[in-house]
């Protein structure tokens, strides 16, 4: 499992642009929003939590079709499926690698980008916490979508159509945490819900994803 994780991380970092791409996309989304809604800082401060969460979500989506597709094309997914490691374990490792190369960096740079959107003071810490807690769910749900569409030739667009509705609860609770932190309200409830969502996704979805991949490899 370690070997697979390290292989995936190395591939993601070294092979052509996938690693920095989603960060750059996140940056561009955040830069474009003020052009769209105007530069008034109070307006930006109000919408900042939502924009940052939606931006991170879309950036996460961008690199999803890489999770299984390259391995499917060059046949290494078949090897992994026949290896002694259960396919569910492979899925977990793949999703973990996706989170380490996409979700975690997004969570780390989000507070820096929040400065651009004039996020009020108490929001920064909770923006990082909510993203760090919520992006694993995004990665796992995305891996499920990637597993469903891995056999398709142009699965990318379909992948986003399938995955985006599944992202709704995560987005709601994640953005709610930041919004409540900004308004100095109690954040316990959405925080617990988001953590529960992430844990449930990681506990249940590997089985569904592995089932989908087995069907696709048939």
């Amino acid at each position: 499992m370690w070997a697979l994780l390290i292989r995936d991380l190395t591939l993601a970092v070294r092979a052509g642009g996938g690693f920095g791409l989603s960060l750059a996309f996140f940056l561009i989304v955040v830069v474009l929003v003020p052009f769209g809604v105007g530069p008034q800082s109070d307006v930006l401060a109000r919408i900042a939590p939502g924009i940052l969460w939606v931006g991170a979500l879309l950036a996460c989506l961008l690199s999803l079709d890489r999770v299984f597709h390259l391995d499917f094309e060059d046949g290494s997914l078949d090897l992994l499926a026949t290896s002694p490691l259960p396919l569910e374990g492979v899925v977990v490792i793949k999703a973990l690698a996706h989170w380490l190369t996409t979700g975690l960096p997004l969570a780390l740079i989000a507070p820096a980008l929040a400065v651009l959107l004039n996020l009020p003071g108490p929001g920064y810490l909770w923006l990082f916490v909510s993203l760090a807690l919520g992006t694993p769910a995004l990665s796992m749900i995305g891996a499920f979508g990637a597993g469903l569409t891995v056999g398709l030739k142009r699965g990318g667009l379909l992948l986003s159509l399938l995955v985006l509705p599944l992202y709704v609860p995560t987005l709601i609770f994640g953005a709610e945490i930041v919004r409540r932190a900004v308004d100095a309200q109690a954040i316990g409830t959405p925080l617990a819900m988001l953590a529960g969502l992430t844990l449930a996704a990681w506990a249940c979805l590997p089985f569904a994803t592995a089932a989908a991949i087995r069907i696709n490899l048939r």
């Binding site: 056999g151 159509l161 399938l162 709704v168 569904a208 989908a212």
Partner: protein, 242 residues
């Protein structure tokens, strides 16, 4: 009689051919009577005026939109567990009907909402949940359309339907948490004191049942079409081989 008998497509075709005229006649009759009674022979509401009558389209289509998803969930599950071929085709056939029902519910709601709430669209929990449900239907249909091998498509869409149902329920409650609503409570329920009043109640039940039969008609028709399309594909395949 068990559903397993109808796993045999030929038997299903025979059965549905005999049932279809009756079911469609019942649908036409109930909807016609329900709608005409509702539109022309019930009084206007004292505050909402005649706009209240859109309830005879809105409530049945919304009910069907949710129930069709549940039906798809059950039929998908039957396919996953026991490989019941007609079952999964019925799920495939039901999806566009469900999406249409969702759209009808959203559209009639918007038409009613403009004079009553003063807005076509409001990010109310029920409305938002229906929009999300519509997206789920779209994704399900798109996945069916994208995969060529019918058995692989059936398997993958069933998995999507199962996982999607879980997420649809989570979304419903997450949305409740996100925004409190403008939409009124249930119009019809067995355990509540506050239902719509009796004059509106009877035609509403008629058109509800009528929409149920309409769905049954459409799903039988579409499943028959699917089976025929499947047979045609098999014939073509055989021709190419020989």
């Amino acid at each position: 009689m068990s559903i397993w008998e109808y796993a045999n497509p030929a038997r299903f075709m025979r059965f549905s051919r005999t049932v279809l005229p009756w079911v469609s006649a019942a649908a036409a009759l109930l909807i016609l009577v329900g709608l005409i009674w509702g539109f022309f022979f019930t009084p206007d509401d004292f505050r909402q005026g005649s706009t209240v009558k859109i309830i005879y389209l809105h409530v049945p289509s919304a009910t069907m939109a949710i129930n069709i998803w549940v039906m798809m969930l059950v039929t998908s599950m039957i396919w996953v567990v026991r490989r019941h071929h007609v079952s999964v085709l019925a799920a495939k056939a039901a999806a566009p009907i469900g999406a249409t029902m969702t759209l009808i519910a959203l559209a009639t709601g918007a038409i009613w909402g403009q004079p009553m709430w003063g807005t076509y669209w409001e990010w109310d929990p029920r409305l938002t949940a229906f929009l999300i449900l519509f997206l789920f239907y779209l994704g399900y249909m798109a996945l069916w359309a994208a995969i060529e091998d019918p058995d692989v498509a059936a398997d993958l869409t069933s998995i999507l339907c199962l996982v999607g149902s879980v997420f649809a329920v989570i979304s419903r409650y997450a949305i409740n948490f996100w925004n409190q609503g403008l939409h009124q409570g249930a119009s019809l329920s067995l355990d509540q004191e506050e239902n719509v009043s009796d004059v509106f109640w009877q035609p509403l039940v008629l058109s509800l049942v009528g929409f149920g039969f309409l769905f049954l008609t459409l799903v039988l028709l579409r499943t028959r079409t699917e089976i025929r399309a499947r047979r045609l594909a098999a014939l073509k395949q055989r021709e190419r081989v020989s």
